[in-house]
């Protein structure tokens, strides 16, 4: 365990140094991330300036929901964005390089890259969460700010673990991109910007049980926005860290299962 951590940190340091070589790209990328998210929020703004609220959620509550998702997503993007690229690593033979080295393959794979664009997501989401906090006139007790940190980390883990679980299928099939893309639609197409209770039971069950992306923002937000008593499933607002740990265990098990059956493509 200790060795694994040392290897991971050494690799991350190398990845950061590589990234620092391209500063102009960094700034353009961060600005791009800001504009991309502003565009999505602008659509919500247009809708809610006309309709006042969406299934009982006002504009700033939607902003809060969206940016809680973005915070977790941003943290996962900085460290684990390349999980999605496992298929490409396998097809191009890069993964075989990892296997020849005498260190844990998962640690090497996770430590291979960092992605600066996630920093833009994190900065933007913290700014927008602060704005939402002020505009909604919230008054949290101190412990809730600590809970916010726990939630941010667990939503990063939820997203990373679901993705790892799905890409591990490419050890068996070599193709997982379409599967990952369709599954992540439930994340950025559904839970990201809409309160999931508006979609009815089926879709809410899918994003709670099968692809539990709703634990990235919807359920935790119920507590932060004082909505946990308005719905019958308010208790779930406490379960995001538990879900994150379970998913982490499952995804590592799936990785180990897959890698045992892995046969190189030979390229």
């Amino acid at each position: 365990m200790r060795d694994n951590l040392t290897i991971y940190l050494t690799m991350i340091r190398a990845a950061v140094l590589t990234r620092m070589e391209y500063r102009a790209d960094f700034i353009m990328g961060i600005i791009g991330v800001f504009i991309l998210n502003a565009g999505t929020l602008a659509t919500s703004w247009v809708l809610l300036s006309r309709f006042h609220d969406l299934h009982g959620w006002t504009f700033w509550e939607i902003v809060f929901l969206y940016n809680l998702w973005l915070l977790g997503h941003g943290i996962r993007a900085v460290f684990f964005r390349h999980i999605n690229l496992l298929e490409q690593f396998i097809v191009e033979g890069t993964f075989d390089q990892i296997l020849t080295r005498p260190a844990n393959a998962l640690v090497q794979f996770l430590g291979r890259e960092v992605h600066y664009l996630g920093i833009g997501d994190v900065l933007l989401s913290i700014t927008m969460l602060t704005l939402a906090y002020q505009n909604l006139d919230l008054h949290w007790p101190v412990w809730m700010f600590g809970w916010m940190v726990v939630i941010a980390l667990s939503s990063a883990i939820v997203e990373a673990a679901i993705t790892l679980l799905l890409v591990s299928t490419s050890f068996l099939t070599t193709r997982s991109r379409a599967l990952v893309n369709s599954a992540s639609l439930f994340s950025w197409g559904v839970v990201q910007q809409y309160p999931v209770d508006m979609f009815g039971k089926l879709l809410r069950n899918i994003v709670t049980i099968f692809l539990p992306f709703a634990f990235m923002n919807y359920y935790p937000a119920l507590l932060f926005l004082g909505k946990q008593d308005q719905v019958s499933w308010g208790i779930l607002t406490w379960y995001a860290p538990v879900v994150a740990l379970i998913l982490l265990g499952l995804s590592i098990a799936m990785w180990n299962f897959g890698i045992k059956r892995y046969q190189s493509t030979g390229s």
Binding site: G39, A42, F51, L54, H55, L185, L203
Partner: protein
Amino acid sequence: MSLFWIFSRQNFYQQSAYRLNFWLEIAGIMLQIYVVYKLWNVLFEQTPESFGGITLPQMLTYAVLGMLLGSILSIGEGVHTYIQSQVRMGQITSDLMKPVDFIVHMMARDFGQIFVRLLFFLLPPMVLSYLMFDMVVPTSPAQIAAFVVAVVQAWVILFFCNFMFGLISFKTLDLMGFSFTYFALVRFASGQIVPLWMYPDVLQPILNFLPFKSVFYTPLAIYNGVLNGSAMTTALLVQTAWMVGLFAVARLVWGRIHHSLIVQGG
């Protein structure tokens, strides 16, 4: 013209190769359609008076068809991403050496992709949507004809926008930062998700000034019957004007870039 069909055939084989991918993509499209369907149902139930005389089936038709058209009129992927990857890999030379005009060649490629995506990813989910949801159909042959013309013109307009956007990569080798901005702008200003008449009045002059209104809003509003009579004719003519204008600018810009192009050995 045969060039256009050659690319279609190639694409057809590529798409047929992975059957699982086909079903997963269809499932993804249906999910997106379901999301907008639910969204507008909820909003309509809350405040039907905010829709300004539009019926719920009309609104749903607009929203569902907006998602469907999104599978052929793509902002995220298209001629711009093709040019970018060719430039970065240094393979753009092989495109430039072909004995066909570059713009025509790129259009034929794009057409091939769109035609196949139309068969695979627009028509089947469209049939499914009509079976599942309460949506309107165009009432007269003239309306259907106008819709088809509007879609074709929308494709040409989006193609030239994407094409000129892609040309940036000849200067910068990369589109990363810019492509987020472009994606956000087109998505917001085209009315694919929210009909443009719902936007605040302050934004209307800007939306009218941009070509993106012609890409999604015009065909969608013709199909659900919001644009009709002389307003419809005007919208179609505006599209034609954008088409011609963008073509002229694209030719000019490409001529300049091509003239001063230096390709590094890749």
